[in-house]
Symmetry: C2
């Protein structure tokens, strides 16, 4: 590992004055903060500061400004496109110890949390309130990280993404200025929407330290169902017709046969066949969920789906959805010691069948191990390429495959990333997708971070 | 009216080369573009260009850049806070003739329209597709204007605001560069969310020329109901309990007794009493709407509301909601020749009753004519102050009242504007509400419009 450049010693000393033994320069801690759950090379920061308050983050920013150090905000390190690698060194600000739920307003269904609170921790905290927070990326990510990445997950088809569910943020700008965006009102036209600009900005514009979120009443009735199909086409056609029917389905997830195989083994799922499978969830009143489920069951039956298999007990439901959330780990278990590279295109639903089928064929032709799983109600799906990053030939094959996949999605009016974000991995893809808009993004970045010290090397090329 | 400054003649000549007789410098046309439906003094532009294409708007921007002319985008002129007044002169770009629906993708429930298409025009166009666009400010505003203002309306409680429903924009930057934001994918994390930054930017960052929108299936069943109450408290408590019950009500609108009086007279509503009144609408399946309505009816009955009065025929429903949309005009009809000044605070729902009751008392003490109407499911309400702008004492009373109202809302965790935007009228309020965040907004504005020629004098003070 590289030695911090000259001048950093003074910076480290100044940071130690603020953080004491919560500042680490040990190899182990730096390595742990050197990448996320991705396929990028390790790039450790020069130091890691474990912050407890917004004011400490502000102090760290001021010191980094003084010494010209890059800043990389770090949550749970579960991002997938090289977001948290310290590619230019500098300070990793670890927010995981800022894990307090600051307020819950039950009457207004909102809450405010420190950035390090994870989604599971929040829902555990809310358990007795009758409320929940629905956004659920696979990992038990921090809510600050989820806001920074613009995460979504299996519930987005009904509840939206982080963008629709963050009411406001507390952030620290590059120079240490603390700024609050948004607020408790459910809607506001009071000036530019900084909240939504910062959601998905991946630490390149500011460090998020607190998040104000919308909450939802736990539905009176929740019904889950699984249905298996003889072909990918039939499964996707079921999704398309379901979406067009206007049924307010809460979750509709597709696992292809390879993914089912991996999940059956990793999560001990019983009595499932290795076939394309849809997982459904319906939220509402008892009458409403029954009505929704009936409509979808009829559609699936028309397309040759197996009878719905119901999972009405909460325990069985949790097991099923945990299996769904664990697909990343199930993929990695296919080739122990490898990393998973999760692709992330999203296309208009009318093009989804075509895109999935072409992609499945492409995977098969490459010989890559790449199960497919999708938030198909949104047109978003992932290939979990299980890869040995030290095998240059395999990496080249995967890179070429992903390039074709992104081009395919863009040609269909889609996007190169539905929810994982840009990080280091999608910078070129965003340029291909957004064109002139990248010039505007660049102007915004330079306006808010003129020295390019906020998570440099991510999102855009300056 | 003032004479255009020297140098403008060459600009006018260059603009005339592009627009021919679609460029006007007549007093009548300039006056018509000199203000919206607001209480601000007339401030006509030097000229008005009626654009037909994005390329023409781009050409106009380039000429204005060359000659240093301010640019004021203009849709239907129905904004309420002085948004379209040409306070520094310059060119008003009228987009009303860009009124083509460019594409409708039924399978994906999305469409793309030119900025001048109005919400009613779009819904008329969609009539046979089974789809509709739900966002409905009072006026039949242009969709470009609605995006620019971050409009919402009576359906926001279920369908969200423009921010949740714009998938992408075509915009022209200050220097004439044409930029597309967003796209057809339902979600994307591909770089900074420019779409949402430009929604609500009120022409101060760019001119919006095309809008890509989400559409929704027309619900299988729509049920409307009206319920009258003996007190404002009882009506608001019904709203609060309804929202907390989790019923997915589509619309829930409050009209106070003064407003009901105005509406009964202006819209010939029959068999209503002059009492605080709630208008409801439920969307869903027949079983679903019946279930929703029953729950709400029970809540209202508990709080002493009159029996629900149902309006199941589409004609009767339209009449009722048209009356709701016409409250602005109903208010103005109370004092012919006056203007209406519509306040716009939004508070957390738990504080709504308190805020409304204090505000009603405040109105009564001032002696102003100011009926109250509210999108109360969102915590947003308007006092329609009917005012003679030429009476300085009355204006001062209204200003002082609005200042107290905003302070009251902010003290309750609310916002100074739920949906009307900032324009000229709320600049100070936004500074009070957003604090340091205004510095960030200022940096963004200067990054994207360094010479401050895009709708100067609106949103923020540079």
């Amino acid at each position: 590992m590289s030695t911090p450049p000259i001048g950093h010693n003074a910076a480290i000393a100044a940071l130690r004055d603020v953080f004491g033994d919560r500042l680490s320069t040990s190899d182990a801690v730096r390595e742990q903060h050197g990448r996320g759950e991705d396929y990028f090379p390790l790039a450790p920061p020069d130091a890691v500061a474990f912050a407890l308050t917004t004011e400490e983050v502000s102090a760290a920013h001021r010191i980094c400004a003084e010494f010209g150090l890059p800043i990389v905000p770090f949550g749970t390190g579960t991002s997938l496109e090289g977001h948290v690698s310290a590619v230019e060194g500098g300070l990793s600000i670890d927010l995981s110890r800022m894990n307090e739920v600051l307020e819950v307003n039950g009457e207004d269904s909102d809450c405010r949390v420190q950035a390090g609170v994870t989604r599971k921790q929040l829902n555990e905290y809310l358990r007795d309130t009758g409320l929940f927070f629905p956004i659920d990326p696979g990992a038990d990510a921090s809510l600050g990280g989820m806001a920074a990445t613009g995460a979504s997950g299996t519930n987005a088809v009904r509840y939206g993404t982080m963008s629709e569910n963050v009411l406001g943020l507390t952030v620290v700008m590059h120079d240490g200025e603390i700024v609050e965006t948004g607020g408790r009102a459910r809607k506001s036209s009071a000036g530019y929407d900084l909240t939504r600009l910062f959601v998905g900005s991946e630490g390149t514009l500011c460090t998020i330290t607190e998040v104000r979120l919308k909450l939802y009443g736990i539905p009176e009735s929740i019904a889950s169902a699984v249905c298996q199909f003889s072909s990918l086409e039939a499964a996707v056609d079921t999704v398309t017709l379901t979406m067009q029917s206007g049924v307010p389905v809460a979750r509709i997830e597709l696992l292809d046969d390879t993914q089912m195989d991996a999940c059956i083994r990793y999560s001990d799922l019983e009595d499932f066949e290795v076939r394309p499978t849809l997982f459904f969830e319906f939220h509402g009143s008892p009458a409403g969920t029954a009505e929704q489920a009936e409509t979808v069951q009829d559609i699936a039956a028309e397309l040759g789906g197996s009878a719905f298999r119901w999972t009405q007990s909460q325990e069985e439901r949790n097991k099923l959805w945990q299996a769904r959330h664990d697909v990343y780990y199930a993929c990695m278990a296919l080739r122990p010691g490898c990393r998973a590279w999760s692709t992330d295109v999203c296309v208009p639903i009318s093009r989804l069948a075509e895109c999935l089928i072409e992609t499945r064929r492409d995977v098969d032709e490459t010989g890559l191990v790449a199960p497919i799983v999708g938030h198909v109600g949104d047109g978003n799906f992932h290939c979990g390429i299980v890869i040995d990053p030290d095998d240059p030939e395999e990496m080249a094959t995967a890179q070429a495959f992903n390039k074709r996949l992104v081009a395919r999605a863009l040609a269909m009016g889609g996007t190169c990333t539905g929810e994982h974000g840009v990080g280091q991995g999608k910078i070129d893809s965003v340029e291909a997708e957004r064109g002139e808009a990248v010039d505007v993004m660049r102007a915004l970045k330079l306006a808010l971070d003129p020295a390019n010290r906020m998570n440099p090397g991510k999102v855009i090329r300056l």
